[in-house]
């Protein structure tokens, strides 16, 4: 074997040694790379008292193609976000945890509905629910929110605006 070849092999082995993953130090066993975060859903009913609502939330994460050196494809998503809890809203009328449709539940998609038969109903902008999520830690999800219906105590539908906010302090 030529000296240059031997030298190359030695260098290669040393590189392997240096670049080997340091999993023994500081790494935790278990599923790496997820975080938990809430999404707060707000409904603005204007002057109408809100007695019932239904909406759909889809949370998507672009394929992490960038890790492979390719740009992410805008039309290709993976269901990496998982819904891990549904919490009630801020007004007493909607404080109870709202129901979701189990048949329609997917990892990243949920249909939520609630109603209140009480006399004290919220008007204007109010937080109606908080959705708790497990998200891949290196990505920021994209959210799609669809209001199916907002109605008053007589069952009359009215136009309303549905928005969301992220972050822990609400």
């Amino acid at each position: 074997m030529k000296r240059s070849a031997l030298t190359a092999l030695v260098v290669a082995c040393l590189i392997v040694t240096l670049l080997a993953p340091r999993t023994g130090k500081g790494s935790r066993p278990g599923k790496p790379g997820v975080r938990f975060a809430p999404v707060h859903i707000y409904l603005d009913s204007g002057n109408a008292p809100l007695a019932a609502y239904q909406f759909e939330l889809v949370c998507s994460v672009p394929v992490r193609a960038s890790q492979e050196g390719n740009p992410p494809k805008a039309d290709h998503y993976e269901p990496a976000v998982k819904i891990v809890g549904v919490e009630g809203g801020q007004h007493p009328a909607f404080n109870n945890a709202p129901y979701y449709d189990p048949a329609a539940l997917a990892n990243n998609r949920i249909i939520i509905a609630a109603f209140s038969t009480g006399a004290d109903l919220p008007k204007g902008r109010t937080r109606i629910a908080t959705i708790h999520l497990q998200i891949p830690s290196d990505t920021e999800p994209e959210y799609e929110l669809k209001l199916a219906v907002a109605a008053d105590a007589d069952g009359r539908e009215f136009p309303a605006e549905l928005t969301l906010e992220t972050g822990e302090d609400q």
Binding site: V10, A20, G24, R28, P29, V86, E87, A103, L105
Partner: protein
């Protein structure tokens, strides 16, 4: 550089590279052994297993009580506890990196490390063979760091503290030095509590356990109950904890709601595939988020975990379920089980439900374990229970033999019952029976329709005139459980029942009495005629039976079902047992394989019977089950039993659904209808027209037909829980098939139904995470909630220590 030098360098580099690639994976195993976030696939290891002494290392145990040193800890008596310091002394050649030392360079001077261990004396009895009275379990008390430091200083060991891996060992690990002879199961993914801090605190009765209170509210409408169970957890310790509670629910409970309550905030849990939910929970727990997980271990045993409860904080978990009430001999019966009875698991099994003493998590080798309080201990956990009955027709009588109750009523068809504040220890089933007036009980359809379609349940009552017909001669086989859990009151009641039943046999009948515990034996080599002389001898035989040993029920099954059947007689096999076994699937499989023409009519005996097992045995055995509680009248129950089997059943039952288009009916084959024992049928339907359902069958050689009018518009005949009841029944049927059908599609089918209807099952779980707040620090110590042994059951003969 010469080529030979290069080659040598190459070899060195290759070796270095290989080691570099391999060591991390070795390191992982090493770390899992002592870290709290060990994965499910890794069994727990002891310090001595993960850090075995090398040949150059000497171990020395120092009893902190008297300072005595020894090569190994003293043999302790059952219940005795002693704290030792384990010193490891290494020679200069010892590579202390094996002990997790940051480097070996400091080993030249003072090659000693010290670890504190609490050792519990154990009494394993025959099952553990030579392990009896040997020290079995060693805990590392987290509450003793100062003691450890003081010890190290005293011994001149301050130059070397604990190795990093050992220092990270938390209090809730149980180290097994002397392994039991039975194979060890894969440990649960959570740490096991009990040693060290928790034991000390509880024994001193300074701080109660994290489950403070359970509140149960039931609403009965017709024969369907809607029950909300609230478990109130609170952290009374000074550090963060994870609470783990193994608890029972009715075997036919359709659990479909799960809400975690933190102060005023209510977070609805999400139903998910079980493994996925467990992964989410583990990750949330690891990252410090408050989370809760509900899993099903058996159809009537569940595990509740609540992670990251901060000191002084309270978290409630609210569970809601539907179930259909049993109806027997004129009474509807609402049952709420309060404690899981201590189960016996056959040697070699690892998938059972272990029964261990408080703080002894892990010693049973079973996947699921229940910790039990000693008889002189009492946790602060109590229970409140209230039931509202709306029978729809006048209630004639309400009775509760298990608890002191307070009853009120503001209408003839309604009643409110709650357990007395003086009877709040959760150590026995709550059994409430009520009877409606006159002959108002009739077969009727209850329906629910939503966007998924129509669902119904039909409680099918046997025709009244069955009572006028007499049965054919019987071959009666009594199978009496004489295991340790039956010792005392349960076996006394079972023996009384057998003796009473023997006296009621007719001259044309034959009988056999079989007893089983570790093995089975019987009264005679074959069934004998029920002559007065034979009955007298059999009663003497029964009188001599005692309860002790394990519950090898399979031996009783074989003895009862494997001998030749007398074709001229109707063969009835009657098991009298508490059902405290962990291998239910094996038993049900054995019954399925051996039943033949036999029918199984069993008695569940005790205060907290394994009703899942007894009910499934009755269904598989095409018979029925009755329960004898501590305060029930033996004579009444046995007489009713005889009334039931003294008349022929309605057999070959078929149903014509009229104009309803019916599918997915469970049970798929309608069982025989016996006197006093209706059958609940559930299914899906399409159609909106009123109709008449016709039930046809045979009584002997005669045809019999029942007509049941159906009024779909009648709101009194609807119930929102019917869809869940149907889905739960479908899951039950699929799970029953799984005991004898290897079809790989069954688990997936169960999971699909459970996810679609948001139901607990073997393959699904509820997960709830509060992502708005991340608690500080590590996930803390895992505390299992110990429970009392059921009323009438002896701790000493049933719980492993």
């Amino acid at each position: 550089m010469k080529p030979k030098h290069l080659i040598a360098l190459l070899i060195l580099a290759v070796v270095l590279a290989v080691f570099t690639l391999l060591i991390p994976s070795l390191n992982k195993v090493h770390r899992y052994a002592s870290r709290s976030d060990q994965p499910v696939s890794q069994p727990r290891q002891s310090v001595l297993e993960s850090h075995p002494p090398s040949e150059q290392e000497q171990l020395s145990w120092h009893d902190l009580r008297d300072g005595e040193s020894a090569e190994q800890p003293a043999s302790l008596q059952f219940g005795e506890t002693r704290t030792y310091a384990l010193e490891r002394t290494a020679s200069d050649e010892t590579d202390l990196s094996l002990l997790g030392s940051p480097s070996t360079s400091s080993a030249a001077d003072g090659n000693k490390t010290a670890e504190l261990h609490t050792i519990y004396g154990d009494s394993y009895g025959g099952a553990m063979g030579g392990a009896a009275n040997r020290p079995q379990h060693i805990g590392t008390p987290q509450s003793q760091p100062r003691l450890q430091q003081a010890y190290q200083a005293d011994r001149g060991l301050e130059r070397r503290t604990l190795a990093p891996d050992l220092a990270s060992v938390t209090a809730d690990e149980i180290w097994v030095i002397a392994k039991p002879e039975a194979p060890q199961a894969v440990g649960p993914q959570y740490q096991t509590p009990g040693s060290g801090a928790m034991l000390a605190k509880v024994e001193e009765k300074e701080i109660p356990l994290p489950l403070k209170h359970t509140d149960v509210k039931g609403q009965i409408s017709g024969y369907i109950a809607t029950v909300e169970v609230t478990q109130q957890f609170e952290n009374p310790y000074s550090e963060k904890i994870e609470a783990v509670y193994v608890f029972p629910l009715p075997q036919n409970a359709a659990v479909n709601e799960f809400i975690m309550v933190i102060g005023e905030r209510k977070i609805r849990g999400i139903i998910r595939e079980r493994q996925e939910a467990e992964q989410i929970y583990a990750e949330a727990r690891r990252q410090g988020y408050v989370a809760s997980l509900l899993t099903q271990e058996r159809p009537n045993i569940f595990t509740q975990k609540v992670a990251n409860i901060e000191p002084g904080k309270a978290i409630d978990v609210n569970i809601k379920y539907f179930n259909t009430l049993a109806y027997a001999d004129g009474w509807y019966e609402f049952v709420f089980p309060m404690v899981v009875g201590p189960r016996f698991n056959p040697p070699g099994s690892t998938d059972g439900v272990g029964a261990v003493g408080r703080g002894k998590m892990g010693i049973s080798g079973q996947k699921t374990e229940v910790q039990y309080l000693r008889p002189d201990e009492r946790s602060g956990h109590d229970i409140a229970l209230a039931v509202d009955i709306d029978a729809g027709v006048e209630i004639e009588e309400v009775s509760c033999a298990t608890h002191a109750t307070q009853k009120t009523s503001d209408a003839p068809q309604k009643a409110h019952v709650q357990i007395s504040p003086l009877d709040t220890i959760p150590n026995k089933d709550f059994v409430l029976r009520y009877k409606v007036a006159g002959k108002t009980v009739k077969s009727a359809l209850v329906t629910h329709t939503d966007e998924r379609g129509g669902f119904f349940t039909l409680m099918l009552y046997p025709p009244d005139d069955l009572k006028t017909l007499q049965r054919s001669p019987m071959e009666m086989v009594f199978v009496l459980d004489c295991s340790g859990s039956m010792n005392g009151q349960p076996i006394a009641r079972a023996k009384d029942a057998v003796k009473r039943a023997l006296r009621k046999l007719g001259p044309d009948d034959t009988f056999q009495v079989i007893r089983f515990s570790q093995s089975a034996s019987q009264f005679g080599s074959q069934p004998v005629p029920a002559t007065p002389e034979n009955v007298r001898k059999a009663i003497a035989y029964v009188d001599d039976l005692k309860g002790s040993g394990g519950t090898m029920m399979i031996e009783g099954i074989k003895a009862a079902l494997e001998f030749p059947h007398d074709e001229r007689r109707f063969r009835l096999v009657s098991f009298l047992t508490d059902g405290y076994i962990g291998n239910e699937v094996e038993i049900l499989e054995a019954i399925h394989d051996r039943l033949g023409d036999s029918r199984i009519f069993s008695f569940g005996v005790g205060s907290s019977v394994n009703r899942y097992l007894l009910d499934r045995m009755a269904k598989l055995g095409k018979g029925a089950v009755a329960y004898i509680g501590p305060n029930d009248s033996n004579s009444e129950i046995v007489d009713l039993f005889y009334d039931r089997i003294s008349h022929p059943a309605l057999t070959n039952v078929t149903i014509d659904w009229g104009s309803l288009k019916v599918e997915d009916v469970y049970p798929s084959r309608i069982p025989d209808l016996f006197v006093g024992r209706p059958v609940t049928v559930t299914g899906r339907f399409a159609g909106r027209q009123n109709t008449t359902v016709r039930v046809q069958g045979k009584v002997g050689s005669y045809d019999k037909e029942l007509a049941i009018p159906v009024r779909l518009a009648d709101e009194a005949s609807t119930h929102p829980g019917i869809a869940c009841v149907w889905a739960r029944r479908k899951i039950e049927e699929l799970a029953a098939r799984k005991t004898y059908d290897d079809s790989p599609s069954l688990p997936g089918e169960i999971q699909r139904v459970a996810l679609e209807y948001s139901l607990m099952s073997e393959y699904t779980a509820f997960i709830a995470v509060d992502s708005t707040h991340q608690t500080a620090g590590d996930h803390g110590v895992t505390i299992a909630v110990p429970v009392p042994v059921p009323d009438g059951v002896r701790y000493e003969t049933t719980v492993q220590n």
